[in-house]
Each structure stands twice: as C-alpha cells, then as structure tokens.
Symmetry: C2
Subunit: 185 residues, 2 copies
DNA sequence: CAGAAGTTTCAGAAATTACTGAAAGTTTAT
DNA sequence: ATAAACTTTCAGTAATTTCTGAAACTTCTG
C-alpha cells in the first residue's frame, strides 16, 4: 500500500482538516485513505501507510464506524478484516452532517428545553429565557430542515442546489399557488 | 454582574459545547454571557463572572470579534469598553455558519482544485482524482447553497424551513411551471 | 507631562487530547 | 487444547491547546 504523491497530499490535508470536521488528525487521514483507495484496505496497511501505531488505527477505525463513514468488508479466504467507505460521497457527507447534528445541536436543544420549563425568577432571567427560546426555535428549525434535506435524497437536493437564487423567486410563487398553507409568521 | 442560576447553567453549557462549535470553552462562555445579558458588559465584569484571567478574556473577546459575533459598544462618559452581541440570534447563527465555512470548507476546496490540475500519474491516481472531483463538486454545491440561504434573509429562510416536507412537492411543481429553466441533470 | 485607568501580549504552567506499544482478548485452524 | 493470526484495550507518555499573570502598551485626565 504505497501512497502516490497525490494521495499523500490529499490524505495529509484531510488529516489537518480532520479536527475542524469533528474528528482528530489520524481519523481524518484514515478516512481519506479508505475513500481514495479503490480496493479494500486492512488495518495493518493503514498503520503502515500512515506511520501510526496499530492501536491508534484500531481506535480510529472504531470511531469512523461509529460515525458510520466506514464499514468492514470481509474478503473471502482472508483472515484479516478489510475496510471500505460506507457509501458514496453524498452518503458520507450526509452522515457527517447527521452525526454533527447529534453532537452539536441535540444536547443543547435538550438543555434549553429544560431551562425553559422553570419560571423566571426575575426580570433578568425573563429576558435571558426569551433569548434562550429564540435559540431553541432556531435550532429546532435547523434540525427539521436538515432532516428534510436528507429525505429529499441526492438528486432532488442537487436540483434544489442548482436552482440557486431561483429559490427566492419560487417562494413568492408558492405563496400565490398554495395560499393559506404553511403561512409565514 | 452576578449570574442567576439559569444564566449560569446556560453559560456553562455553552462553554462545554463551545469546542464543538469551533471555539474553546471560555470563548463559548463569554459569548453566552454577552448574548444573555441585556446590558452591555465590560471585560472586567466578564472576567469576574466567569472566574477567568483578564488576559484570557481579552483573547476570547478578540476571537469573538474575529467571528463577528460580538462588537464593542462605547458608553458615553465611561472609560471602559463594553461588549454586546453583533446582531440578533439569526444574524449570529449566520455568522457562525459563514465563519465555519471559511475554516472548514474553503481551504479544502482550494487544495482540491490544485490537486485536480495535475495529470494523474497512473490508474490509481486517476481513480483517486475522480473521487476528489466528486468531493470538490459537493463542497462547491454546499458553499453555493449556504450563500444562497444567507441571501434569502431570515423571513424567507423561515418560510422555507416551515415548509418542511413541502419542499419536495414544490420541486416537482416547479418543473412543471418553469420548464426548461434550471433543468435537472 | 505624570500617572491613572484601562487593554493587549506572550512566555511559561496547567489542562486536555491523542498516540504508543505491550498485554489481554478473540477467532480460526490443526 | 494449542498455537497462530489477528484485534482491542488501556496505562503511561507525548503533543497540543488553553489559561494565567506579569509586563508592555495605549489612552485619557489633570
């Protein structure tokens, strides 16, 4: 499993970016390597290619599986386990969004719901609660929205994206076509 | 600047979540405090309320300003500098998206563009380049899309979000209404 | 201009996070 | 049941990130 210069650059970059995407350097590198390699690749090969310990590789693969970005692939006749991407690029991107939503939004939603249950103790708290409520609603919208996008599936999502600034025009159109439904507040 | 229990819980939580949102614990806490406090608040008050050093506060505020989430507010007659949120919740959320896009997507786009310029050295590289190209196109779509959403502004964005699963139906509708324009590929 | 009131910087300390490698665990084959 | 081939775990170490606080800087005020 010798990495070509192109693959090396890409893998290193995904390592650097990894931490910004929610995982650490080696996890990012492992992911890139698995995605860019057409053949299934073994844990040992990963360790060798990236010069990291076997233990680290094992942990990294575990994490990537928990993100559902990578899956095992059993090669008949082989004892070792091999790894391949858990789907095409679109699927992987969706998984990243979904997992991040779980980690970045859901816990906050849950806390906000709790904090909004208590009656405000004073003026100051009432104001803060109002702000927290705004945040809650925003996060709820984002969540609903992102789930909606996932349900659309790649093709329609693509249509929508390609539509670009047409979306705004379409919305106006819609208000005329479907009056009364889903009204704006 | 005594924090009420409610505000304390919220501030602490935003601190914990901070790192997932792209900044560190104290930066998250400072942001929450500024947002939840109706009055402008001074750097010293922030240090006291959060029990962090004056230096750390200074750095945190600098970072929040670089994210354009917080701005200075000069109180006439006061020597000190006060801080307030740089806009309403919607604005802040947009800023976070935008900044994260800059940090999480743009650098990768740039690298991918470069890597795609070189001719592939062999079969393996050609395959990898194809994958990289898919990733590039996806990121490009996401970028275009998120910019589009920002241009829509809060109200329309809200309409769109409230529309929920209606979006799918609307897309079909659109194809009938505007045939030939923005065709699907 | 001296000094008071405030802010920023940055070297080093503290806290956190990631990595290694050896030991323990698992599975398959004989 | 033993051993070979492989994987996982985890205690300790290494690397990175964050925080402190003292010194340097900047503005205002008298």
């Amino acid at each position: 499993m010798k990495m070509t210069p192109l693959i090396t650059s890409a893998v290193m970059h995904f390592g650097e970016m990894g931490s910004r995407w929610g995982f650490n350097r080696t996890v990012g590198q492992i992911l890139a390597l698995i995605v860019l390699n057409e053949e299934p690749i073994s844990a040992q090969e990963i360790s060798d290619a990236l010069n990291i310990s076997r233990g680290n590789t094992s942990m990294g693969l575990k994490e990537l599986q928990s993100w559902r970005l990578v899956k095992q692939h059993l090669v008949p006749g082989e004892r070792k386990e091999f790894f391949i991407p858990a789907g095409d690029i679109w699927t992987l991107a969706n998984r990243v969004f979904e997992e991040r939503r779980k980690r970045e939004i859901d816990p906050t939603m849950s806390l906000l719901r709790d904090l909004l249950l208590d009656a405000p103790a004073n003026e100051k708290e009432a104001n803060a609660q109002h702000k927290l409520n705004e945040i809650h609603d925003l996060l709820e919208s984002i969540t609903a929205w992102s789930q909606e996008l996932q349900n659309l599936g790649p093709e329609k999502l693509n249509t929508l994206m390609k539509l670009g600034s047409g979306v705004g025009r379409m919305l106006e159109l819609k208000d005329k076509l479907l009056p009364g439904k889903n009204s704006v507040n």
